[in-house]
Amino acid sequence: MKSLQISLPGLELKNPIMPASGCFGFGREFSELYDLNLLGAIMIKATTLEPRFGNPTPRVAETSSGMLNAIGLQNPGLDKVLNEELTWLSQFDVPIIANVAGSLEEDYIAVAKEISQAPNVHALELNISCPNVKTGGIAFGTIPEVAKSLTKKVKEVSAVPVYVKLSPNVTNIVEMAKAIEDGGADGLTMINTLIGMRLDLKTGKPILANQTGGLSGPAIKPVAIRMIHEVSQHVSLPIIGMGGVQSAADVLEFYYAGARAVAIGTANFVDPFICPTIIEELLELMNSLGFEHISECIGRSWNKRG
């Protein structure tokens, strides 16, 4: 399995496949289905300082080859995540990437400081791009200076490397990535969901109680690939790619675009066994294409080796 090993700041991964934040809870449900030790890492659900109930239901709607969600960052709050979820997860030999969210800078800083000290948290993922929260939030993900300042402050308090999760809902993704690089981030994760909406044929009203939601799934994959392709050529930070991955072939497409690891979100709902399945198929696919190590695939769409 050497051929799937890969390192990123803070993360020595036995393989590059990890469930994306919000699509795997804190792992409990999936642990009933398969051994979580198979995973490269786990991106846990967004954690906020205080518990949050999230948005009213319906919170999900289907779209062509995609889905909308407006969960609204429901989570049990920092204390419970630390004391119950992360403690429970410590039985597994899998690095945890803690997704940190908030409405104010102080919230992010407080959560980052504490959660980064949990022994099994190997990296943070700053969620500055959640489209489903009304207050604050959005500015962090769309204004380069704001993103940079937040990154800097979180870096100061974090005990582990900090990845920042980019929103695709911006005019210039490279500008955002550069600002975050300047802010001292250790890596990028991209992309979060596109903002979308569906209306009910009969009532004419939004299907989601929150009106808009985040679009994920295969529908957004070409947008993710294009953004990673562009960002990876302009910043030197390692990228964990995501957005519509459903197969080992999709994983390679993210690698070719410039990712160093790949997260899987929505596909966990379609097939709860998707992560271990893809890990297995990835090896076979690499073999059939003549790759000896997954790192050979990084940036193949633009680098000279390709």
């Binding site: 919000g22 699509c23 795997f24 809870g25 409990r28 449900e29 999936f30 009933e32 289905l33 659900k45 518990p51 949050r52 109930f53 999230g54 239901t57 319906p58 919170r59 999900v60 709607a61 289907e62 062509s64 080859s65 995609g66 889905m67 969600n69 969960i71 429901q74 049990p76 709050g77 799934g217 295969p218 459903q246 929505t266 966990n268 709902f269 379609v270 097939d271 709860p272 066994f273």
Partner: protein, 259 residues
Amino acid sequence: MKKKELCQIVSQEKIADQIFELTLKGELACEMNEPGQFVHLKVSDQLDPLLRRPISIAAIDQQRKEFTMIYRADGKGTNILSKKTTDEIIDVLGPLGNGFPLAEANLGDTALLVGGGIGVPPLYELSKQLVKRGVKVIHVLGFQSSNVVFYHEKFSELGETYIATVDGSYGKKGFVTNVIEDEKLDFDILFSCGPTPMLRALEQAYPHKKVYLSLEERMGCGIGACFACVCHTGDDPTGYSYKKVCSDGPVFKAGEVVL
């Protein structure tokens, strides 16, 4: 235990307007121990429609390793499902959730089973199992109109059965609650599945009885991981406490969650 299995269609039949009865074969059937659980079906191998569809288990035959569902071909996914024929394969995840608590009904008790529309199906397996345990069952089933009524006879074989239709084109005219009142039906325990207004009416009508309600909510994962299907709990000063319909439910004790 939850499993994902490629199950083969034993039969699929249209049993009323847009209503289909689908029987699948799979090892999964042996894991189905509680009436009221559901399965999560992938209706297409392609990426559109993407998500699984939650459908209740309406009957279980563990000896033959078969289970039956009854569903309405309504939107995109269920329409695709309805076109599948014998021997085709469907990707099933299940059994999911917690069903009706059989043990709450004692030998000799009378159980009132109240179903509305496509909430009726899970009550069928429930009724069969209650009868087997020596519980007396009464069924009150509500439908829109005669063309979508199904399983009248099957329920009748198990116990007293009343049908209500909104337009009066079959059985009594009106809602299930009207029937219960008019017929002065008495019971020790009530089980129900159907539209939320109906569940709410039942909850309010019998605050001092044992009442169990099966809920519906739009789902993502179906296994408790995505928080799509949460509802507030009944007694919750903080506002943060919740239950997930998919993994804590779909069956809840009346009052446990906010309808």
